[in-house]
């Protein structure tokens, strides 16, 4: 599940795969393969109109702009695959990472997904800031695991679109709207060089 309004713990739920025992390095990573099935009946992504109705009062007060909802919801949500290095939970420490955004297939059938390393974006992350690098620069760093999360197509929340003052004074009274994706992932396999 993914929040639309606040960025605090914006990935309300997600899947984490622990790879510490694999001793896999970013340089060895070649591809990630898995089968995915989406249960659309149990999933929910609000339309712009639904979100507008949901935030009617906040829009009227000027806390949220309709254009923000349009910006966040005009494209379907996506699944983000994130390879992370050690200490990824500590934003004070620079951590090697790699991400790929998978479009959600418009079918309820099982789909085989094969994502090669050249489709991932590799970067260092610290204090929520990213510095892009290539895979070779991270070659000797170990991959601690993979996160599978749901995201808006821009990775932003409504709070991301507020000005600095609004962001600091984010009104806790604004209701949260959750994007929800019910999925099953089967037979995940990592191919290495």
């Amino acid at each position: 599940m993914r929040k639309l309004a606040n960025w605090h713990q914006q990935h309300s739920t997600g899947i984490k795969i622990n790879l510490t025992e694999k001793e896999l390095s970013f340089g060895q990573f070649k591809s990630l393969n898995f089968a995915i099935t989406i249960d659309h009946l149990s999933s929910f992504q609000p339309t712009i109109e639904q979100a507008q109705a949901y935030y009617f009062e906040a829009i009227k007060k000027g806390n949220i702009k309709l254009s923000w909802l349009q910006q966040l919801l005009r494209e379907p949500a996506k699944i983000t695959l994130t390879l992370f290095g050690r200490q990824h939970d500590d934003q004070k420490v620079s951590t090697p990472m790699a991400t790929f955004n998978q479009q959600i297939a418009r079918t309820s059938d099982k789909n085989r997904v094969n994502v090669s390393s050249d489709r991932f974006s590799f970067y260092w992350q610290q204090n929520y800031q990213e510095k892009a690098v290539n895979q070779e620069e991270l070659a000797n760093y170990k991959v601690s695991g993979i996160l599978i999360t749901l995201d808006t197509h821009t990775n932003q929340t409504l709070r991301s679109l507020m000005d600095d003052e609004q962001q600091d004074n984010f009104p806790e009274t604004i209701k949260e709207l959750y994007l929800k994706l019910a999925l099953t992932i089967a037979n995940p396999i990592i191919e290495v060089l």
Binding site: H40, Q50, Y54, I104, K175, E176
Partner: protein, 95 residues
Amino acid sequence: MNHTNHRLALGTLFTLLIVYCLINSQKLHATSVIKNKVIDRSLFSIQASEVSGWNHLDVDLNRPKSINRSRTGYQLFLPQVNDKKSLHCPYPRYL
């Protein structure tokens, strides 16, 4: 003489056959080992025990965690958290 040559020739052929079979069986064995090594080293399967998740909703919504880890993998069972009354009902689901 002819008989001796014939037996020698047969013996040589037999020896060559044995050597040929030995060489090829080694090749086959070597190929199997290489193939196995390739499979062992180029693919990592992910076990159910390595899959977990997180749930911030228990903090956000003051609801109890409802994580169930089944034998075949990881599953989350969550209640509908959005305020359905504020949405048009019946609202269209995603896709």
